[in-house]
């Protein structure tokens, strides 16, 4: 059993249509990433983490969402060249991800990550 952390991922501004038309997803994501070996149980020391993988980041989450939850073939409406496409804001706990380190932000248990497509109609 791998160590996982619970988070909520929200989609808004039309992006929810790419993810089963569901605006809020409560997920358990891996706590660490890189090679997917056997995980460790809870309560182990932190010193060993470097060997086992790195804390998950927004960049990892985006990839993980595409692989596991994208129900729509138009993945280019969410990701382009491995990054969130232009015109999508990422909010970490209701704050612009630029305030938190953007793609490199290390996700914490309980975080809320919101992806909003910016709108231009009127």
């Amino acid at each position: 059993m791998s160590l996982t952390i619970p988070i909520t991922v929200d989609f808004s501004g039309g992006l929810e249509m790419l993810f089963s038309n569901k605006r809020r997803h409560s997920l358990s994501i891996p706590a660490l990433f890189t090679e997917e070996k056997d995980g460790k149980g809870e309560g182990e020391g932190e010193g060993e983490e470097e060997d086992k993988g790195k804390p998950v980041t927004i960049a990892f989450l985006v990839d993980y969402l595409c692989k596991n939850f994208m129900k729509d073939p138009r993945s280019d409406l969410f990701v382009l060249d491995g990054h969130i496409r232009p015109g999508i804001l990422v909010l970490i706990n209701e704050a612009d991800w630029e305030l938190e380190g953007e793609e490199t932000y290390e996700i914490q248990a309980g975080d809320n990550i919101l992806f909003v497509s910016t709108l231009h109609g009127g």
Binding site: S12, P73, L77, L80, G87, V116, L119, H120, G122
Partner: protein, 326 residues
């Protein structure tokens, strides 16, 4: 004489008394509105409701920019028009409605599209701009000119069942100044600070292609008017000056305008209003890296350059989707 010290006419008093008695407004707030000039760019789903409340509140001079004519498919949401005015310019149609509601303001029709060539001339005479337009290229153009002319910008957008609103460039610090230091934001962001790049053309949905629910865009338009009224009535757009001449205490009980809130509205057809219908998102302030207002921006963005086609807004917003994975 000081326009803020005149008396109200009986007609003004009769019409505005219900908002003048609201705590915080008063005669001073009303006189500020009466001497303000607002430009509403777009007379569509956002512009119609916004204009009704801007006009109702007694803003002194109201300019409206739109190059389109009224069409039947507009009328489910563009509530300042009428069936009898189908085929007429939206600007004159909307002003007909507003004049009937409140004949006191001066209405200035601008029956044209806003372009790099005319944008500065259109915006310069006004105190505050409402972006009620419907495409990314125009939104970047309006923001850039507002940065250069130092106008606060209340920007909203809406498609299908979603809406967004943010107050930008308020107060309007000169281009390239007030850049962040040591993690502290010293100036309010512009549209480009918040929305660095437009979506690929294929992802930028218009209301015509993707549809729009009337009450969603209507709510955003009214909210725009609400933000404009409070900025003008309370002088939130005044830049505190060291000599104290224009000085007002920096406002912002809950959220400093230097790091504004992006309001998003999500309307679900299959559920009543719920806990996530409205969300308030903390944006950053002015960015060092911003093309329009950041470091070195004076060299790359000027009114003269915009007129000559630099930057090319249409090209900037027409990047195709890089790959299609279908």
């Amino acid at each position: 004489s000081n326009p803020l010290s005149r008396s109200l006419t009986d007609e003004e008093f009769d019409r505005y008394s219900r908002q003048m008695i609201v705590p915080g407004m008063g005669k001073e707030g009303q006189l500020r509105l009466l001497t303000s000039r607002v430009l509403i760019i777009g007379a569509g789903g956002l512009g119609c409701p916004a204009a009704q409340y801007i006009a109702g509140a007694g803003i002194g001079t109201i300019g409206i920019v739109d190059g389109d004519v009224v069409e039947p498919s507009n009328l489910h949401r563009q509530v300042g028009h009428a069936t009898s005015r189908i085929g007429t310019p939206k600007v004159t149609s909307l002003i007909t409605h507003l004049s009937a509601l409140n004949p006191l303001p001066t209405y200035i029709p601008h029956p044209c599209h806003i372009t790099p060539d005319n944008a500065a001339d259109l915006i310069a005479p006004y105190d505050l701009v409402l972006d009620c337009t419907d495409n990314p290229a125009t939104r970047y153009l309006i923001s850039d000119v507002c940065v250069l002319l130092r106008k606060p910008l209340v920007s909203a957008a809406s498609v299908q069942k979603s809406g967004q609103l943010v107050v930008l460039n308020c107060p309007a610090t000169p281009q390239g100044e007030g850049l962040p230091e040591g993690g502290k934001y010293n100036a309010a962001p512009c549209y480009r600070c918040c929305f660095k790049q437009p979506p690929p053309a294929a992802a930028a949905l218009s209301c015509g292609e993707a549809g729009i629910m009337g009450p969603v865009v209507g709510l955003m338009g009214v909210a725009q008017a609400g933000e404009a009224v409070k900025i003008l009535a309370s002088g939130l757009h005044a830049i505190p000056s060291s000599d104290g001449a224009t000085g007002q205490e920096e406002p912002g009980r809950e959220r400093n305008l230097r790091q504004p809130t992006l309001l998003i509205y999500s309307y679900d057809l299959d559920a009543a209003v719920g806990p996530y219908a409205f969300r308030a998102l903390k944006m950053a302030g002015r960015k060092k890296s911003c093309f329009a207002c950041g470091e070195g921006s004076r060299a790359r963005l000027t009114l003269g350059g915009i007129k000559k086609g630099e930057p090319d807004y249409v090209q900037f917003c027409s990047a195709p989707t890089a790959r299609v994975t279908l």
